[in-house]
Homo-oligomer: 264 residues x 4
């Protein structure tokens, strides 16, 4: 029954200085409640809506930055991988490898990620039922690596819209693996702005509160100092200056939930 922890960071790596600034501000937001966090950032947005949008710094520069953040801030770092070949090098630089939702059934990627020995955060595909995540976890566990986290980031609901089914959190919890709720991608509107995805940032804290009341191990929240001008996922990221208040509030719900239930 560990208290709620956080996976937080900007959607994509922008520069070493930006990553440092974000890590520092997240650390400050977490400090008053002594909330543990994993620093998250992507070196490559490999499946953006359109070819015309920014993909990021690339693996080499990205992993270097993440290693530095890990070292300088003493926090675990997480990044997402997009094919099997990326797992070994990424696994050297980070503590947690993340499997993107669209790729959650790609067997080779899951196996290669598992073989690194890193913790693996797998996002539930928008097309997948929560009870089908057991098969996904089994693929990773077949490598002998059971450091698995299962993450909900919303389910397809008509076109350009996701819905969060909160029955999914305890359903995924039945696997015995920790459950993560991704509060910012769950309010994404995929493809909703033509060549980029839209989002409903105002609902991220609402859904986060619901998830913590239901009971989760960790929350995944993307944050930025200026979401409206961020290179990706701006419409759904939380402004960094709101993070301390949000975390503090969510910890009070978490204390209540963890006190009453042993959930996840």
């Amino acid at each position: 029954k560990l208290p709620l922890a956080l996976i937080a960071g900007p959607c994509q790596l922008e520069s070493l200085d930006h990553a440092r600034m974000m890590a520092e501000k997240i650390a400050e937001a977490c400090a008053p409640t002594d909330t543990k966090f994993v620093f998250k950032a992507s070196y490559d947005k490999a499946n953006r809506s359109s070819i015309t949008t920014q993909r990021g710094l690339g693996m080499d520069e990205g992993l270097t930055i993440l290693s530095k953040i890990r070292e300088e801030f003493g926090v675990p770092v997480l990044t997402d991988v997009h094919d099997a070949a990326q797992c070994a090098p990424a696994g050297e630089a980070v503590d947690v490898l993340q499997i993107p939702a669209f790729l959650c059934r790609q067997t080779d990627l899951l196996l290669a990620a598992g073989q690194t020995g890193c913790a693996i955060n797998v996002k539930k595909g928008q097309f997948l039922a929560p009870w089908d995540m057991g098969n996904v976890a089994d693929k990773i566990a077949s490598t002998g690596n059971e450091r698995i986290m299962l993450c909900d980031r919303g389910t397809s609901f008509g076109y350009n819209t996701l819905v969060t089914d909160f029955r999914g959190l305890p359903t995924m919890g039945k696997t015995g693996y920790p459950v993560v709720f991704d509060a910012t991608h769950s309010v994404q509107q995929p493809g909703g702005q033509g060549t980029t995805s839209g989002g409903q940032r105002e609902f991220a804290p609402v859904l986060a509160r619901a998830a913590v009341a239901v009971g989760v191990s960790m929350l995944f929240i993307e944050t930025h100092e200026d979401p409206d001008n961020a290179p990706s996922d701006g419409p759904n990221m939380i402004p960094i200056e709101q993070m301390e208040a949000l975390i503090t509030q969510l910890r009070t719900y978490d204390a209540l939930t963890k006190d009453q239930f042993g959930l996840m």
Copy 2:
């Protein structure tokens, strides 16, 4: 910022004695936390899956029982109405008239209900977006009656399945009317058992917790002393002996939410 109140009772009226027993047990479950409740029961299940299942006691006997419960227990009572002609007589016997989800766009029913001056609890249709409930409320308000509550009981998600979109609660709250979350119908599986609906009773407390964390005025919960043998909605009703613990728990989340937000 009133504390969380409850709409609770059996799905359908079975007899005066049964209604008394249920009202007494609900009162006992609410007493330790001084939770206000409205006693709910239906005199007619007017839209059951199949013609072969029990519809209930009928309007005359049903309204008589509800009047007695109101008098004997000193609690407000609620029942659902199915066509415009039922509103006036039902409105004499009860404090709150409820508009079933399937009927939430039937203009004559909404107007007739509004004209009684009773409080009106309108369930959002499973086919309706939460933002479209403003038009529904406007129909009632056009009668001069603004004692309106908007209630979420789930949204169609594929076949024989509902999902609760918790963004819907604050969305409906923007109308200014109190928002109710129906925790037991939200876990119904409509038509899921051939000639009756199925349900996932185990998720009702989970979703109730999420709703209270998001922020609602009232919860709607159907309860029974023996759900598995109840004449309707057994698969999703909460056993009455679990109600005290559930209410007590939900009130702690509600205190947190009402303390932090002035939500709904």
Copy 3:
């Protein structure tokens, strides 16, 4: 294996003259292919999105007009009923009573409609699985009236959107009752324009073609001489001047389907 027939007319009755003009134009559109049609119009739009929109002429005037159309044109006429009390009088004036989709599980309405002895066209609720229409038909058949038609007009798919699942047509056909496809409501966008529903008129012929290829007994198509200025359902009605070409085309697909299969 009767050839494809049509249920066609304006969404709502506007005046006797308008009904006459529409009936005449539909008759002309059907004549070259000798296509049988039922004239359809509503005397009351009882569940419009908003209280501010037009409801129609009312039952008395509406039924009088429909009777006249029946007499003058020698065609069967259809109208929709909204509560049990309307069934007997409406049943006197028309040949087919239609149960609106939102009301497809209202037992009293189904029974009262059945008891008139009229043919009954029941629309599948947007919230209902096609295999659950068997229970709906059984309610009507319990009155001894088996003149039942089951009609698909789309299924909820996210918010403000319907989707047609063409597996539903043969699934409903397994009941043994004739199956109708409603091509114009299936492209409705419920509530999609704030206080009225939107629609995608351009897809109605596309889905009609698909339905006829799958195999149906009848198509339901709303049509108007000036859809953009019609009092309701304008965004999804077919302009009357396009009907002849559409019917002619659909009959060629129907001939193929009826020739190869004995479907519905």
Copy 4:
């Protein structure tokens, strides 16, 4: 306005002899109507529901077999690729590279596939709106390769269920690229059998007929001599002995559609 062509074959390559037998039987089924076909088979099922199920022969053996089929039967061959590195070698052996639905937004894969100069059949993700396939096609076209086909294989509709929205075919057709309808995966029930996917084989011909009436360039149909014992996708494959009748029937609808419209 070319007549309907086919992409057909077993879900996975089983052996050279099996591929030969299937190619021969498909050729026989197509001969009476002179229907062109592309032979389809996978060398690797890279995203199966569970780790315990069969993945296939692997790329080397698979590509060798496909090359032989192409040479011996004089037909174009198609296979699916799962990461960017597979595109160049696979592109040497086959005529058409296929992008799996889950991977339809993976930019590197789309670019690598495009760069081979092969024709590319991209399946629309189950999570993607049809109008968002324009962005997908643009990624491929950015390589200078415009030999693109857009394929619908169903859209997420609740859990473990897909629905085909036939408005999607003309919507994708607006891009100007040929549209393919995948009749057998559209009736898949993803994850519906625990560790494998279920399917509703009986609806594949129904949906194929609808698609051809709407208007498509090609149909994608998986077929097998003994679907119930096939290593994958058995529940939705069409038995090979039914293919001739099915193709013959579909060509009559196609003739009608191509005669009337210039669709796709």
